[in-house]
Symmetry: C2
Subunit: 428 residues, 2 copies
């Protein structure tokens, strides 16, 4: 492997900006890695090799365009791209070619990034899996729905990728693949041109191999430099609440151990670490979130369900039909509960800066039949809080155990800095 | 004019379901009205005559499909439609043909509706106006951004139309044109396939000539029959808070008089009517909403701004550039303020069921250079509450003075029923 493809995005961006490495050289390293590994990993639904080469060449022949200059981005296949097909992992959209770029991709391009290809998603970013394998162990799922985005970053094919999260679709697969999955505060990254499943839950997420890279991606894209992780870190060690949540019984023993071990390591490293039990009431968010997801996903996928139902997998078709069984009063009550708890969640942190909690029940499951259980993510998605998924230990199969750092609403910049501090200390 | 096109949607739906009128007959009446008036009103960016005729014929030759059977719908030109162009009132999208239908249109079609054409929007549903005129006085604006949707419904071209609201784009033009503009609780109608301006603010709205029609449209689309206005009304007369808001000085004398007259008429009709001053603090929402709108609109329109800036009108281009001048701390503080006040707004209603407040500063302005001032709408959009715009008096030019009934979050069904009760008593 050409070592260039192992650079962090931050390191690569520095070399690219100084012209120590050309965009073309860097791309070649990424493409070589893809050529070496893609037949096994199957991260890409479409590789835009020619477009990427042309984009890199254009960047090399012009001025440095911005903080993302020369960085290739892999794009989940539910983001519209004007020069690559967008097929959503669905038979409904075979060969579908959008006419525009999603807003967040236009923003990234304006900051100097370019697109290298479209990554495999589960069917319409819901639950039925597609072909991607976990690059750390090909017999295991990479998780989903942002399957190919997490796999491609984990396997050094690209430094950065886009994802989305409706239940646990960025944070969970990032944990399974041992990379960083940053789900910002709801609506921080614009959703225009990103295919919706649930307007209340959908959040654009970013995937990278370390937290400063994810922060650079967000900062460059949004033209919001304050999101960058400061070179000298967050200033002080964070106050961390260890949050087992009402899902704790779902966690595998090794996941429970990983959280306990992380708590000890972080305490030993100087953080204030305490157990943080969420107040009574938060457990109701799980059922509420399910009502919202079922009601909204079915309606958002009305075109696919009503017009092309025979091209949907039966499990997704059944789920869409269930949307009309949710009682309106349950939907409204659930929406109201989410709104109420968004107001309460900061208080629930007590004096903690961030919470540390599992990103999944355990390692990536074996087989490709399921992308795993989103239970440990969906409440936080519903609460709209920023989450940073990361590996935090290893399980019996040698695969990562994903943890996530959960921040307060709108507190993305500090959450990223603290997440970096934590990541450095629990995963080396 | 063939009187069929003057039927309410409820009346038409009944006749269509009983086959007393065929969909083709009803469509012919609508098309005749369009043919008579469109050269003056200019409501349509694209008339899908052939597709509509084929759809009506298909409906006539099959079973009754649902509660919207046989109703033609005019669609704001930022909703994706697979068999009509979607051009967004923008030079960037001339001839643009999407490949799918927006989710809410697929839902409406499944309930038996069909599409008749695409209606003129301001440029990308922001503020620069396009060619539509107010059908009540062609020298005046119909308002915007849902200009053609409100004009076409007001002029009896169609019974129902779709709109969106980011600041005041459904409720205000409805008031200017003398029709009903229903902006539901945020996210109630799915946004998939509707072009975004601001993820925090954008809400799909519906336009009709009376409240039960708008309710039928929403109920049929969402498969949520509880939204229908009961035949015998809301049961009891509503408790109405007359809410002048901190914008009151912006209201023209005739608008102030219209609200006072409405209060008297409603009281005389048996409603409990009281003055309702919003608590201190709500006025801060206006500035906060502006920060959110400017930050988000510029980023949502990144593709258009960065890739096709020369095709945007200078005023919109300048507005997009301003997105990067909003300070992140102002954006985050504003988002947090909106979230906080969404939790407070129900309490601010006191014991009132709904509020009555202006939908605009006065009549539709003369000329087509501006679509009017959204000041009286934007706070409610930011609060995500359901609003029903309606005419509530006449101004010096004989044009309607729009008022709006504002409900509590998630309380759309009752808000619609009370809005109908109010509409019947202030506009006859």
């Amino acid at each position: 492997m050409n070592d260039l493809c192992r650079l962090s995005a931050i390191e690569a961006a520095k070399k690219l900006a100084r012209r120590e490495v050309t965009a073309t050289q860097y791309l070649k390293a990424c493409l070589a890695r893809i050529d070496e590994r893609e037949k096994d990993v199957r991260a890409f639904a479409h590789l835009g090799r020619e477009q990427a080469i042309a984009a890199a060449k254009a960047l090399d022949s012009g001025p440095v365009r911005g903080p993302l200059h020369g960085l290739p981005v892999a794009v989940k296949d539910i983001f519209d791209t004007r020069d690559m097909p967008t097929q959503g992992g669905s038979k409904v959209y075979v060969g579908h070619q959008p006419l525009t770029d999603a807003a967040c991709l236009a923003l990234a391009k304006h900051a100097g990034a370019y697109l290298i290809g479209k990554t495999v998603t589960t069917e319409l970013a819901t639950f039925p899996p597609n072909e991607t394998r976990n690059p750390l162990n090909l017999a295991h799922t990479p998780g989903g729905s942002s399957s190919g985005s997490c796999a491609s970053v984990a396997d050094f094919m690209v430094p950065l990728a886009t994802g989305t999260q409706t239940l646990g679709s960025t944070v969970r697969p990032a944990g399974y693949c041992g990379v960083i999955g940053y789900k910002p505060t709801y609506n921080l990254i614009p959703k225009k041109g990103v295919w919706a499943d649930s307007d209340t839950l959908d959040t654009v997420g970013l995937i990278a191999r370390n937290v400063p890279d994810a922060a650079l991606f967000a900062a460059g894209m949004l033209r919001y430099s304050g999101l960058m992780v400061p070179d000298n870190g967050p200033g002080t060690a964070p106050r961390i609440g260890i949050c087992r949540t009402h899902m704790w019984d779902k966690a595998a023993p090794e996941m429970k151990a990983a959280l306990e071990n992380a708590a000890k390591a972080l305490s030993a490293a100087g953080a204030t670490v305490k157990d943080l039990a969420l107040p009574e009431g938060f457990q109701a968010l799980t059922e509420a979130q399910q009502h919202v997801a079922i009601w909204e996903i079915g309606r958002s996928l009305a075109y696919e369900f009503f017009e092309h139902g025979n091209k949907l997998r039966p499990a997704l078709r059944d789920r869409c039909a269930k949307a009309y069984e949710v009682k309106p009063e349950d939907y409204h009550r659930s929406i109201a509960l989410g709104r109420e708890y968004r107001q309460r969640v900061a208080h629930a942190f007590g004096d903690c800066d961030v919470l540390l909690t599992p990103a999944a029940t355990g390692e990536a499951p074996k087989g490709l039949e399921s992308t795993g259980d989103p239970s440990f993510c969906s409440m936080w998605t519903f609460l709209h809080v920023p989450c940073v998924g990361m590996p935090g230990g290893k399980g019996p199969n040698g695969l990562p155990l994903g943890l996530q750092v959960v921040g307060k609403l709108d507190d993305d910049a500090r959450t990223l800095a603290w997440a970096h501090w934590i990541h450095q200390r629990i995963w080396t």
